[in-house]
Amino acid sequence: MSVEVEVNESDLAEMVEQVWESYLDPEGISPLIPTYDENQPSEVHSSVSITGSWSGHVVFASSRAAAQRAAAAFLAMELDEVSEEDISDTLGELANIVGGNVKAMLPSGAQLSLPQVVLAPESSARYPNATRISGVYGIWEEEPVSISMWHSSADTKEEGE
């Protein structure tokens, strides 16, 4: 059975700030500005799954332009040099980093999956029996970016077995 764990918005925001400071905005000039709008649109997303003592997903979603800018910043490239593979790699690593830090806040016994990247909106993803429990939603250089956390209610399946 999965234990009750709350990783709140402030925990997530702190992790996200570290990611921006380390990779996306080392000069401190383009922070992620909160919008608190969990319905803001996305064009691409990446996710990692956590299983074990807690089950769920961490999802990074953004516009394609924001993903391209993230890849350029991450890989120290010019915007027009960024390839599809660069965007995919960067999105995967961003989900991995946030997911890994979320996992560290959970009781021991949780495992982190390798990242999955889908160059399609977050709204196209389906996480069966999972509910969005927390998220950081913002605008980065005028483009939407979000990092959300989904909790899987694995108990439903156990009860049915």
Partner: protein, 128 residues
Amino acid sequence: MRAMVIDDSRAMRMILKRIVTKLNFEAVEAGDGQEAMDRLAELTEVPELALIDWNMPNMNGLEFVTKVRADPRLREMTLVMVTTESEQSQIVRALAAGAHEYVIKPFTEGAMIEKLALLGLVPTGANS
């Protein structure tokens, strides 16, 4: 000096390669622990430094550290785990297996350089 960057994320390999190259290391890349072992078997000179991710397919970072420590030819290589695995128990496991140091993602370039300076691989103040 030579450094091996071992991470299944090409993006992270590029970041680490950029940092060590700036510090005058010649960088060799591997996408997982098994590929790193294969590259090490081919190399005539063993790298002085390996920067190792934990979560990787085929052979993870902890298994790689264990294998390196069991090979006398690779004994002089300094092993630094660079990973999101920040649980205390995981850090203890990695250090017990033979890793010299630990860097948690996300990390700044300055933090990585400071860690390498602590290990004596780059001069103190290389960050300034």
